[in-house]
Each structure stands twice: as structure tokens, then as C-alpha cells.
Symmetry: C2
Subunit: 257 residues, 2 copies
């Protein structure tokens, strides 16, 4: 990656964008072994259950993160644009939203909706990771937080590969169960394009550019950590006390928050 | 007001609702002298300008407050319901939203939109009051924060009276300029009804009920304080340094946040 020779080291727009991809090439979870197993059809149904119920926590936190971000926007136009993400998560009118579509998947995997929503069986590491994302959003300035959402830049290919891989690999999952991923194929590029344009036209110093790249790396690491925890618990078999035990759902009392 | 004799002193639903009205009768701003002057047609155009540009800060903060509140909701259904308020503030599709409608009023009053949006001419007391509402939302549990929104219970009559009074009292404002208030006539009761039902069915202890009533009182005081500041500055004539000076807008440099 080349950098411009501006006195303050400001990267050109193209170099700035390339820097996100350079970080993504290393840190984005498309190369994580758990993801590779998932996409390759190598997980069993119970491991998919564990993945789906932990990933619910992330989906739910993303909606909260977007609302928290909106709460920090003084510009009504920007809030209005970002509110579309909230509607995508939680639904609007006839649309059941991304979380509703995720529930179709957890239904198909035989998980109880109340159990999923309670997050009682989630890995503590999952909760810590997603709450770190909430805390990051509260504690950093607007532009880096928006830059952290740019993992969507990487995700269309991942969604496409995962959708194809899961349809091929798991005969207990059909196209209807995976409707969440189909919708993301169109929404993720729209979201990423808006966020990238905003970040590019808003940053004015190299320091801000670096903060954006750092925020993006943090987001990648936060996603990666969730897959590490799933692999350790449900592939290597070290399930921590209190977390979801495949086949033993009914025995676990549901603690409502 | 009678109270039930439950061992923990829990008020009946009717008494609980009545308690909001009892606080509102004392603390709600419908009796504030500045509001009475406004509704009675007794302010001049410059005082209306000061009111409209300060009130913009509140309108904008309410959208941020609602987003912050949504960020603290774990329940997707509840977020989905509350997101309607965000759309009401910032608009959606063809709808320009409440803030857009407020700009129609500030246009009619001859204020520059960029100056209004910059909040550069707002009274510091206005900013302190609305940011106290944001801080209250961040620092209190969900149900009292929702209860703080119940000032909408009091507002339909106020909006109706203000709309009629302003149409009658100010010949430089027509029905189109006051479209904001017309919309609130239908939305405020819908919002208040949802929030009241939620609060009533969620509180289970007298302590929570009291926290809701306290939150409602805080909200009333926060609204009242804004009118005190307007009256002191623009009726009594003690305009603090840096705040909007009628007729002198152009001389004030716009500081963007």
C-alpha cells in the first residue's frame, strides 16, 4: 500500500479504502477455522445450534449499537439514514427484520425462541465481545464507530459463500431457513457503501484515518473472538458452566434479563 | 388520591396513572408565563424566533434520547415500536419528520436553517437542560426513562390550544407554518398510550412506580427550565453573551459542532 506524501501523511481516498481491505485480509473472520467448517458443511446440527444462538446475541447487540450511534448524531439527516439499519434489524410494518429472519433459522435448528432471546445459554465470551462493541460505540467518536461497520465491505462474498455452503452442506436446512443471508446480500453492500462514503468525506487528518482503521480492526477482532469461543466450547468440547449444552436445553433454566 | 393497601404500597393502575396527572398539574409547562404569552399571541416575532431556535435544540435532543433509549432495549419488539418515534422525528421516505416540520416554522420566522441547526445561538441553559435529559436517559433504568416520555399525556390539549392561539395571535404565521403542531395532535396520544401501557404493565413494586413518577417530574422540570431561560433572556432582556440577539443573527458566527 502506497501513501500520499501530504505533509500530515493524509492517505488518498483510494489508499484509505485499501487500508481497510489490507486489515480485513488479515483479521476478517472469513478465514477463521470455525467459519470454514460452517461453510464447508462440517459442523453437526448441535454445533450449528450453538453458533446460531450465540450469533443471536451479536445480531441483537448490533441493533442496540446502531441506536446508540444514532443517539450521538446531531444531524437529523444522518440519523434518518442510519435509522434504516434499525428497521433492517428489528423490522418495520410487514417486514419481520433481520432478527425475525434469524429466528426462522433458530426455529429450523429446533431451538426455542424464548431460550434464544433470553441469551441464557450464550457463552460468556460472546456476551463480553458484543458488549465490548457497545462500549466501543459509547466511548469513541462518531467517525471511527461508523468505520467499524465497514466489515460489511467484506461480507457480501462471505454471505454468498456461506449461503451456498450451508444449503449444500446441511440437508436439514433449506432456502427458507437461510432467508436472513439472502437479505444481507442486498443490504450489506448498500450499508457499506453509505458508511464508506461518509467516512471518506468526513476524515480530514491522518490521525482520524488511523483511528478509523483501528476501529475496523477492533470490529474484526471482536467477530473473530466469537468464533474462537465457539470453536473452543463446541468443537474442542470445553463448554463452560451454564452455557448451552447440546441436547440438554430443557434442563437449563431460562433467566430473563 | 387514594392508594391501595398492598403490603408494599403498590398503587393500583388507576392511582398510578392519576399520580402522573397530579404531578403534571403542578409541574407541566402549560401554566408557564412564557407559554401563556406564546399561546395568547403576546410575543413579538423576535421572541418567537428565540423560542423556535431554542426549542429546536430540544426537538433534536429528543430524537437522540429515543435512540439512546432504544440502544438499551434488549427486546427487538420493543425497539421496533420505539423506532417509530425516531422516524417521526427525523422522517422516513416522503415524510420530512418533526424536525423537518419544525424547520418550516423557523423558515416562516425568517431564521436561517444552518444557523438553527448549528445551535450556535441557543441559550446555554437550553443546552444544559436538554443534555440533562440525555444524561438522565443514560443513567436511569428503562422503565422510568419511558415514564419520562409521558408528558405526551398532557400535550394534546396544549398542542391544540397553542395551534389555535398562534394562528389567532400571529398574523405572520399561517397554518402551513404550524404543520408541526397539527401532526403532534395525532402522534402524541398514540405515543403516550403505548408508553403508559408499557409502564403500567411493567412496574411491579411501589419503588418502581415512585421512580416513574420522579422521572416524569424531572421531565416536566426540564421543560419548565427551558421556558424560564427564554423568559429571562428574551422577555426580561437578559440575553447572555453569545446567544441569539434578535435582528443581529448575521453578526453571529456559526460554530459547527
Amino acid at each position: 500500500m502506497t501513501r500520499s506524501n501530504n505533509s500530515d501523511g493524509l492517505m488518498s481516498a483510494a489508499d484509505f479504502e485499501a487500508a481497510f481491505h489490507a486489515v480485513g485480509d488479515i483479521y476478517y473472520y472469513d478465514k477463521h477455522p470455525f467459519h470454514v467448517m460452517l461453510t464447508g458443511g462440517h459442523l453437526n446440527r448441535q454445533q450449528l445450534q450453538a453458533w446460531a444462538l450465540n450469533r443471536y446475541c451479536f445480531q441483537n447487540a448490533v441493533a442496540r449499537k446502531d441506536a446508540l450511534l444514532i443517539s450521538r448524531m446531531q444531524d437529523s439527516e444522518l440519523r434518518r439514514e442510519w435509522s434504516l439499519r434499525l428497521l433492517d434489524h428489528d423490522g418495520f410494518g410487514e417486514d419481520i427484520g433481520g432478527i425475525g429472519r434469524w429466528m426462522i433459522l433458530t426455529d429450523a435448528l429446533g431451538l426455542d425462541r424464548d431460550y434464544v432471546r433470553s441469551m441464557a445459554g450464550a457463552l460468556p465470551a460472546t456476551i463480553f465481545a458484543v458488549e465490548a462493541y457497545i462500549a466501543f460505540t459509547a466511548g469513541h467518536s462518531l467517525v471511527p464507530v461508523i468505520a467499524s461497520s465497514l466489515t460489511e465491505l467484506m461480507s457480501p462474498k462471505l454471505h454468498r459463500d456461506r449461503l451456498a455452503g450451508m444449503l449444500e452442506g446441511y440437508d436439514f436446512l433449506d432456502s427458507a431457513a437461510l432467508t436472513y443471508f439472502k437479505r444481507r446480500l442486498t443490504h450489506a453492500p448498500r450499508d457499506a457503501s453509505f458508511a464508506l462514503d461518509f467516512v471518506k468525506r468526513t476524515v480530514t487528518t491522518r490521525q482520524q484515518q488511523d483511528a478509523c482503521i483501528e476501529a475496523f480492526r477492533f470490529k474484526c477482532q471482536m467477530l473473530w473472538a466469537q468464533l474462537d469461543a465457539l470453536q473452543f466450547a463446541y468443537v474442542d468440547g470445553h463448554i463452560p458452566p451454564g452455557a448451552f449444552r447440546p441436547g440438554g436445553e430443557a434442563a437449563i433454566s431460562i433467566r430473563r434479563p
